[in-house]
């Protein structure tokens, strides 16, 4: 075992089984491990104990409106892409209490009710997902008003990223510039080869977690193999998207006939917004106890496809599916740039896979561009 911890930016290799040592180091440091695991016929993100919980030897076949698990011919640890969950489930829980109000002598007292943030170690964050986290950072931490709960969970999170060498059928991260290799922001990044992981050290904290692991500097041949695998992945994207001048394209086509056409297929179910790793819309619920003495305000995920999302007195701004789909798409690919300086899509393909009728954003945008 080397005496030194690896330096930031170094590429080292470890035997695959040694990943457990890294996970043990994270647990010893007080992290709750969250990573991919099999549940109800899909690969989801949940709390895990170690490498044994990873969906080793499984892969996913994804197409519009279709997700199937399959056995792999090898026993790769990360031989699949992204499932219905994303890390926003942990950084921005679907339901959280934001304050509690207690009635007292004709008035009331406000109690700040942010729960203490768990320390998560995210295992297996892909390139698209790393960018999705950066995008939500801009939403919740980049403006004059910040979300304290998001900030607490985000600041404590450890990111163990994984480069994708086998993109899925609905992936288009190469078009969005978010993958297949992970961009900046991780603590450790893995590339899985046949019998080793190449680990890139992204932070001092990441280096510390390698201390108990038997590592050696990565060899030139191994690094070349990893580069080749990523180049191959870039060529094998299931989808692609021309991102040229998207804001003007969409803003100038707010009355395009395609919106009517897609509205005939769209069920307005909101699945795309639930699985999207960047969608951040939330609603506030008011909950009271039966005695009417204590009250809570609760943040819950909301969707621009829900009926009362745009409600103002006198009616809804967007009563028709056409307007709601247009809102979602133009927000994601145009107004997001005005709002947060970055495009709102990372090319993960979840909205295509999990749309019950298989609406494909890349196809819709191509149609508006006039290329179908």
């Amino acid at each position: 075992m080397p005496e030194l911890t690896p330096t930031i930016g170094a590429f080292v290799s470890i035997e695959k089984g040694r990943l457990q040592n890294v996970m043990d180091a994270l647990k010893a440091a007080g992290y709750t491990l969250v990573g991919p695991t099999l549940d109800e016929g899909a690969i989801v993100y949940d709390e895990i104990e170690g490498v044994a919980d990873l969906p080793r030897g499984w892969t996913d076949r994804q197409e519009p409106a279709s997700y199937r698990l399959q056995r792999r011919e090898d026993d790769a640890y990360f031989g699949y892409v992204v499932g219905p969950h994303s890390w926003k489930k942990f950084l921005l829980p679907p339901r959280r209490t934001l304050m509690r109000v207690v009635k007292k002598e004709g008035a009331f007292v406000v109690v700040d009710e942010e729960e203490p943030a768990p320390r998560y170690a995210f295992i297996g964050v892909r390139g698209c997902e790393m960018q999705a986290i950066h995008i939500q950072d801009r939403v919740f931490l980049g403006g004059p008003y910040q979300d304290p709960g998001y900030r607490a969970r985000r600041q404590q999170a450890f990111v163990l990223a994984v480069n994708c060498t086998e993109p899925g059928g609905t992936c288009f991260c190469a078009s969005m510039g978010t993958g297949p290799e992970v961009g900046l922001g991780y603590d450790l990044a893995l590339t899985e080869l046949d019998d080793i992981f190449i680990v890139e050290i992204g932070s001092e904290l990441g280096a510390t977690m390698m201390r108990e692991t038997d590592w050696r500097p990565a060899g030139a041949f191994e690094l070349q193999q990893a580069r080749d695998a990523l180049a191959e992945a870039r060529r094998n994207m299931g989808r692609q998207l021309d991102t040229t001048d998207l804001p003007n394209l969409l803003y100038k086509n707010l009355e395009h006939a395609r919106w009517d056409q897609v509205a005939d297929r769209c069920l307005s179910c909101g699945n795309c917004t639930m699985v999207c790793p960047t969608c951040f819309c939330q609603d506030v619920l008011d909950v009271s106890d039966l005695k009417g003495e204590t009250f809570e305000r609760v943040w819950v995920w909301d969707s621009c496809f829900s009926i009362d999302y745009s409600h103002v007195h006198g009616g809804n701004i967007r009563p028709h599916t056409r307007a709601r789909y247009r809102q979602w798409l133009t927000h994601k690919f145009a107004s997001w740039i005005d709002q947060f300086g970055v495009i709102g899509c990372v090319g993960c393909g979840r909205c295509i896979t999990w749309c019950p009728v298989g609406i494909d954003v890349t196809e819709e945008i191509d149609a508006i561009r006039g290329e179908v």
Partner: protein, 289 residues
């Protein structure tokens, strides 16, 4: 895209942007059918002393267990220890507010949003055009003008309501007129007492001779009214940059974190509700946008 955005400031430091502060109702004044003005003051002296708002901004008013509602301030911004909100009883929260009495406590957080650019308008003629309860977020403008009368040129108030009984703040008009605000009123339906104009608000433009180089238009009201106010203002060669519009969308959080109030590139709660028309022109009037 939106070149005239103003960055809002929140003078009250928030431990969390969604935390509300208890405030007591000091006075309730019936203004018209199902419309009343609530004068409130924060319970905490520290909050009361630091709170400031600008004309056109709004607060989120909260009733425990019922919900929150965005309401713009309708009182004098120079006197911010007691804050006025003119409320129309329309939805769940406002109907619950209608059952409150003087001395009751509600939650208040704010101020939020952009404001009428009173500094930028110094030296200009102001044409305030509004309908119904749209006068409420413009009353602070009038109070500001009255306090700084010498800073502004001619000031017109073009105001319309459904019937004479629906007009707001009628007991103040005389004082406003005496301080040089020219008031033109119209109603959709007259009653026997009414001797004035009957018709829609934008028609009042035809009674004025505006100087397009000096005039700024400030408008708030139903979107269809705003649409024709813009039409009349542009027809008089008033530039898009000098037509200011207060927009309404579903403002749920007030701080740009919930997404509900989006209007194209803008969060109406953050970059709005007051916009220069030039900034929203590509999106204004797009059906269901």
């Amino acid at each position: 895209m939106l070149n005239t955005m103003t960055t809002p400031t929140a003078p009250v430091p928030h431990p969390g942007p969604m935390l509300t502060f208890p405030a007591r109702i000091l006075e309730i004044k019936e203004e018209a059918y199902a419309i009343a003005t609530y004068q409130i003051a924060f319970e905490s002296e520290a909050v009361r002393k630091t709170y400031r708002f600008r004309p056109g901004q709004f607060n989120m008013l909260y009733l425990p267990g019922i919900g929150e509602v965005p309401i713009s301030m309708s009182s004098d911004p120079a006197e911010s220890e007691v804050i006025g909100h003119t409320i129309r009883y329309a939805g769940n929260v406002t109907r619950a507010i209608s059952r409150l009495q003087t001395g009751d406590v509600i939650g208040v957080r704010g101020p939020y949003g952009s404001y009428w650019p009173m500094e930028r308008l110094i030296g200009d003629d102001l044409c305030i055009v509004t309908g119904g309860i749209g006068l409420a977020p413009l009353r602070p403008v009038i109070y500001h003008v009255l306090r700084h009368r010498e800073q502004y040129g001619r000031v017109y108030l073009l105001y319309g309501a459904r019937t004479p009984k629906d007009m707001l703040y009628t007991d103040e008009y005389e004082a406003w007129k005496q301080q040089g605000i020219q008031i033109l009123l119209t109603v959709d339906r007259a009653d026997p007492s009414w001797r004035g104009n009957v018709g829609v608000v934008p028609m009042l433009f035809y009674q004025l001779r505006l100087d397009p180089k000096k005039t700024a238009v400030l408008t708030c009201g139903p979107e269809i009214m705003i649409h024709f106010v813009i039409y009349e203002a542009l027809a008089r060669r008033i530039s898009k940059e000098r037509i200011y519009v207060s927009m309404e969308r579903n403002m749920k959080c007030g701080v740009g974190l919930c997404g509900h109030c989006q209007f194209g590139p803008a969060f109406v709660c953050k970059e709005g509700p007051v916009f220069a028309y030039a900034a929203i022109e590509p999106f204004f009037g797009v059906e269901e946008f």
